[in-house]
Symmetry: C2
Subunit: 324 residues, 2 copies
């Protein structure tokens, strides 16, 4: 049985890669700039992925014959079975047959998965949710991504557009979401939504140590809001606590729907720690059924920035065996 896999985490800014063992441990990891140039087509980026795979094998000092294959976690929507990326605005891609393009360059099986699904799989395979029966994962970033792992398998939906957990509606007459619907949790609890809500409060006249920066048009992101909260800014703290409460409400619904044993939260916002988790867990504990709470753990990501490469490698093992 081949003992290694390469996991690739493809983003608009960086391509991260890792050479990973069957136990989820990383032998070597490396990243390169994505360097998207509009209008050049996907070839240059696919070439850089192939180069990264070659570098990982060389730096790991391993033989290519020990690898089961490569899995690339990519922004979606995509067709995970055929390995086609339908659309990624950040990469300027449209209907790119990534598996078919990359496989001849690396000379081994190539699999493609949605990046949020990859991270969820990683946490269940070798992270915070290791050995869980049902993991629900939320990735808090520009949006709110989601992943569902049941009995060790991703649930991708009938045509690969499931697990859009950020587009569960928590307030049907509420904030307009980027998807066009009203009241999705993404419109409230992504890192970007936190910054937006903060800006609204300041513009409406609320006091804050970030007031001048925000009114001057500076880019005040979730990290800066957290730092201000730690430094004693009350509004910043309130905004983070509210984010926790709203995430808690969304998690109540996921728990009532899935009765999972693990909910994992991922993304920089998770570093807010207790400031986010205390109000979040208060909602979960108050609103969920007692029997669901008996099996439930709500945890921060254990793999953090490596979730993408580790999860992708884990999927390469699983999917290579499925086709074997």
């Amino acid at each position: 049985m081949k003992s290694l896999a390469v996991g690739i985490d493809l983003g608009g800014t960086n391509i991260k890669g890792g050479l990973v063992r069957r136990d989820g441990s990383v032998i070597v990891k490396k990243s390169v700039k994505t360097e998207v140039q509009k209008g050049t087509g996907p070839e240059p980026v696919v070439g850089r992925i192939a180069g990264l795979v070659a570098d990982l094998i060389a730096e790991g000092g391993v033989d290519k014959s020990e690898l089961v294959g490569v899995c690339v976690g990519s922004p979606g929507p995509l067709d995970s079975r055929r390995g086609i990326v339908y659309e990624t605005p950040n990469l300027d891609w449209k209907d790119v047959p990534l598996s078919d393009m990359l496989a001849p360059l690396v000379d081994m099986p190539v699999f493609v998965e949605n990046d949020a699904n990859v991270a969820a799989f990683g946490e269940q395979w070798a992270g915070a949710a290791k050995d869980s029966v049902c993991t629900i994962m939320l990735t808090l970033g520009t949006g709110v991504g989601g992943g569902i792992v049941i009995n060790g398998e991703l649930w991708r939906g009938v045509n690969d557009v499931g697990a859009e957990l950020g587009h569960m509606i928590i307030d049907y007459a509420g904030r307009l979401c980027g998807c066009g619907a009203h009241g999705c949790i993404e419109a409230y609890a992504s890192a970007s939504a936190l910054a937006r809500r903060m800006k609204e409060q300041v513009e409406a006249g609320s006091a804050s140590s970030l007031r001048d920066a925000i009114l001057a048009g500076e880019d005040v992101d979730a990290k800066r809001i957290y730092d201000a909260a730690v430094d004693g800014d009350r509004l910043s703290r309130e905004m983070i606590e509210e984010t926790g409460r709203l995430l808690g409400i969304a998690i109540v619904s996921y728990v009532n729907i899935f009765n999972p044993d693990c909910v994992v939260l991922h993304g920089g916002l998770v570093n807010a720690g207790d400031m986010l988790f205390e109000p979040l867990l208060a909602e979960v504990n108050e609103r969920c059924f007692e029997s669901s709470l008996r099996v439930l753990r709500v945890l921060p990501s254990a793999l953090k920035g490596d979730a993408g490469i580790v999860g992708a490698a884990g999927l390469a093992f699983q999917r290579a065996e499925d086709i074997a």
Copy 2:
């Protein structure tokens, strides 16, 4: 391979039973009164279930050796693996080992499942969602029950309290739900919630042909509201249309979460037909991702009142083979 199974639909008022073939067709069905008497324990009701099974075999003119077993759909919460019903207020049951009590009386394998799960399985096995990959089912009654069938298997949750689809929150600061949380879809769109919202409107002064009956304290249920709407009562029509819109909003979330190919609606309220489905589908079509809509069908139950017996029989076939 044994060709028949018995499905039992256990309710607080009636016990329904059916002798069912492997293709989901019903050879004979029958029902008896449940006749719950507080304080007598579960034996009398379990005895009546056994009697019903014997009658079905006799009336069907079949040999007992042709049966794989019996599955009972029961109100929950329950342990489907061990066949224990934890609590059913309507039956005055507490921790009843239903499988172990019934099996010796009928002398064949007995399985127990949550009734909403049974109905969902029935629709996927032999009803509106036949051959679907992912079915989400909502049962609109006193509450809103749910069932999830993925790749032909029920998803029951880690400890059998999943698929509580009625307790997904659509308005986190909204109506208080029976579960103690605010804004669950059950608090808006069950048949009982429809009657409650109608009553509130009338008490607040809205005109309706049902006004006198409601103010006189009569039991004006969903059926009567529908009849009044058909007879031209504007408020009744508005209330049913609003129920459709709110169900549509909930379905958008289920679709974004599961990306199912089938959503089935079950229960008397479904008889409202277009009056319910038109506003419901308008929300779904407006708010869902186009790619999800490509595979999605939203359908009324095909099995209707037989969903419980057909679904239970289908589960008896599946579960008998699992243990074989």
